[in-house]
Symmetry: C2
Subunit: 337 residues, 2 copies
C-alpha cells in the first residue's frame, strides 16, 4: 500500500517526519511512502530511500494560516499535494502533523466526503486510567452539529474501534450532562433517540464527562464544540496538575530526595496520560484515511501514526463505513447529495 | 441579617449543617439563622440556640427527586420553606446543600427572577494553580442559552467577583474553542459581539478551556451545557489523576517510604484543587442570594457558605445586579416581562 505523508507539517518538520518514515518502512515491508515537501531539506535526513519517493514542492501551509483560505490558495502546498495523490489514486491514505483546520479542509475539499455522511468528524483516541483508551468524536471538525450527525459519528467511531482497536462490539456512548435518557439539550435529546433506534452499532446510552477517563465506553460521541471544550479541559487539568505536582516535588531537599525515588513511576504516570501512543486523530467521513499526527510529534509519533493508517487501510475502515452508512440513514437529512 | 438554612439537604444533614450553623453564629455576631427541618433531629446537634430559630417541618426534598415536580408537590419541604421565608421578607438569603436542580427551581419559582435577567445561572468559584480562583457561570441552570443570556451572566459574575471576592475591575472572559474573535459556534460568536459592545464590565475576550486553571480570568461565562461538561471534565480528570498518583505511590515498599515524606505536600496539592474553600455555588438572577453548598459539605463547608452569603447580603450583590442590569440590556430580548 502507498501512504502519502506531508513532510513539512508539525513543529519538528521535516526532520522527525523523515525519521519516522524511515522507521516505518524498515518495520513494515508492505508499505511505500510518498513524501511531499522540500527535497533538499528532506534529503538532509533521508538516509535510506527504500520504498520512499520524494515529491518536491516549495509551498507549505503554516500553522497559523487561515485553514480554508490556505487550502484554496496554496494549491502546491505539501499537505494539499499529499491529499491530491490520494484523490488521484496514487496513494491509499494521507498523514500530516500540520495545521489541523487546513488538513480537515483538505480532506473535505480535495479527497471528498463519503456519500451518506453529512459532516466529517475529527477523532483522537484518548487515554483511560486502565490504559485501554477510547475514541472520541467530533473533537472540532464542526462547531455546529445536528442529531443525525451524532448518529453517524457513532457508526464511524464504532467501525474504527472494531477494526483498528480490535474491540468486539464497541460500546458507543453519547456524552451528556446526565446519564438519564431525558437529560441534555435539544441536540443530545434528539441524538439519543436516533442512536437508541438504530442497530448498526452498540449504543449504551449517555455518559457524563466526569467518567470519561474511567473506561466506561469505547467510543464517545459529541458535537465538535463540546468535544473541543472537553478535550482541552482534560488537557488543561492534566497540565495544571503535573505543574503543581512538580512544584510540590521540588519543594525542599527532603521532597527532592523522595521524588527521586518516585521518578520512574511518576514518569510512567505522565506517559499514561500522553495519548500520542494511540496514534493521530482520524478525520472520519472522507473517502480515504486522513490522519492528523500531533503537531509536536517526534519520529516515534510519526511511526505510530503510519502504523495506525496502515491498519486503517488494511482493515478497510473507510470501505466498511461506506458499506454500513445506509444502516443509520435518517429520513429528511441532507445526506445524499 | 437573617439567613434561612435548609437543615435537611446534603449527605451529612442535619448534623454537619447544624454544626456549621453554630460555628457561624459564634463567629459572626450580626447574623441570625432560621433553620428549616426536623426539630427533633436538629436538636440532637444544636447545643447552643443563640440567634438560631428552628422552623419545624417533616417534609424534605430527596437528592434523587425530580427537581421541578418535587418543588411543586412538596410545598412544606425544608428547602422550599427556607426560600419562602426569603420571599416573605423573613430572611435575607437562603442556603441548601440538597438537590441542586430543586434549589434552582425553588429559587426561580418561590423567590423569583430579577427583572431584566432572562435566565438564572449557577456559579461556583473554581480553583486556579495560583490559588486565586475564578467564578464560572452558567454551570447547569439552563441546558440552552441565547447570546443575551451570556451577556447578562457576565454582569452578574463581575458584580460578585468585585463585591465578594474583592477583585477590582474583574476580568470577564467568554469560554470558547479558540481565542480569536471569529472562533466558535453561533452562540459564542454572537455573545462575543454583545459582550464587546457593553461597558458595564471589563470584557477581555475569549479564553480556551485548556487555560481555565491558569488564572487567565476572574469570571468565565459559558452556557449551562458546556459549563457542566467542562466542570465535570475538570473534576473527572483531577480524580483520575489522583487515583493514578495514589497507585504509583503505593507501588512497592520504596515508593511507600518516599510517599510518606511527601504526604504533607501531596495533601496540600489535593486541598488546592478542592474548591469548597471558596464557598458554595451561587444561583444568580434571582431576587435574593441563594447558594448551593456542596452536597458532601461538612460543618466547615457550611460555615464557609454562610460566611459567603453574609458577604453577599452585606455587599448588596443582588441590589447591585438589579441596579446595573439596564446597562447590558439588548434590544429584542425577552428581558422585561
Amino acid at each position: 500500500m502507498k501512504i502519502a505523508v506531508d513532510a513539512m507539517g508539525g513543529d519538528h518538520a521535516p526532520k522527525e517526519i523523515v525519521l519516522g518514515v524511515m522507521q516505518a518502512v524498515a518495520q513494515y515491508k508492505d508499505i511505500e511512502i510518498l513524501l511531499f515537501g522540500d527535497e533538499t531539506k528532506i534529503n538532509e535526513y533521508l538516509t535510506d530511500k527504500t520504498r520512499v519517493k520524494i515529491i518536491h514542492t516549495d509551498e507549505k501551509i503554516e500553522s497559523d494560516d487561515e485553514p480554508v483560505r490556505a487550502v484554496k490558495r496554496k494549491k502546491k502546498a505539501s499537505m494539499v499535494l499529499a491529499a491530491q495523490a490520494v484523490k488521484d489514486g496514487e496513494a491509499d491514505a494521507c498523514i500530516s502533523a500540520g495545521n489541523t483546520g487546513a488538513l480537515m479542509s483538505t480532506g473535505l475539499f480535495v479527497i471528498g466526503r463519503i456519500k451518506g455522511i453529512d459532516r466529517p468528524a475529527l477523532a483522537p483516541t484518548l487515554p483511560t486510567v486502565t490504559g485501554k483508551g477510547f475514541v472520541m468524536l467530533d473533537l472540532g471538525a464542526n462547531a455546529e452539529a445536528k442529531p443525525e450527525h451524532l448518529l453517524q459519528f457513532g457508526l464511524m467511531g464504532s467501525v474504527y474501534a472494531e477494526k483498528v482497536r480490535k474491540i468486539d462490539r464497541p460500546r458507543v456512548a453519547l456524552l451528556n450532562i446526565g446519564t438519564e435518557e431525558t437529560k441534555g439539550n435539544d441536540l443530545t435529546k434528539k441524538a439519543f433517540e436516533l442512536m437508541k433506534n438504530q442497530d448498526a452499532y452498540e449504543f449504551i446510552g449517555n455518559i457524563e464527562a466526569r467518567d470519561l477517563l474511567m473506561d466506561v465506553a469505547d467510543v464517545v460521541v459529541t458535537d465538535g464544540f463540546t468535544g473541543n471544550m472537553v478535550l482541552k479541559s482534560i488537557e488543561g487539568t492534566g497540565a495544571a496538575f503535573l505543574s503543581m505536582l512538580k512544584m510540590s516535588l521540588l519543594n525542599g531537599f527532603k521532597n527532592k530526595v523522595a521524588a527521586s525515588f518516585l521518578k520512574k513511576d511518576l514518569m510512567a504516570l505522565k506517559a499514561k496520560m500522553d495519548y500520542s501512543e494511540y496514534g493521530g486523530a482520524c478525520l472520519f467521513g472522507v473517502q480515504a484515511p486522513v490522519v492528523k499526527a500531533h503537531g509536536s510529534s517526534n519520529a516515534n509519533g510519526i511511526f505510530t501514526t503510519i502504523r495506525q493508517v496502515r491498519e486503517m487501510v488494511e482493515k478497510q475502515v473507510v470501505e466498511t463505513i461506506i458499506a454500513e452508512v445506509d444502516k443509520v440513514k435518517v429520513g429528511g437529512t441532507e445526506a445524499n447529495d
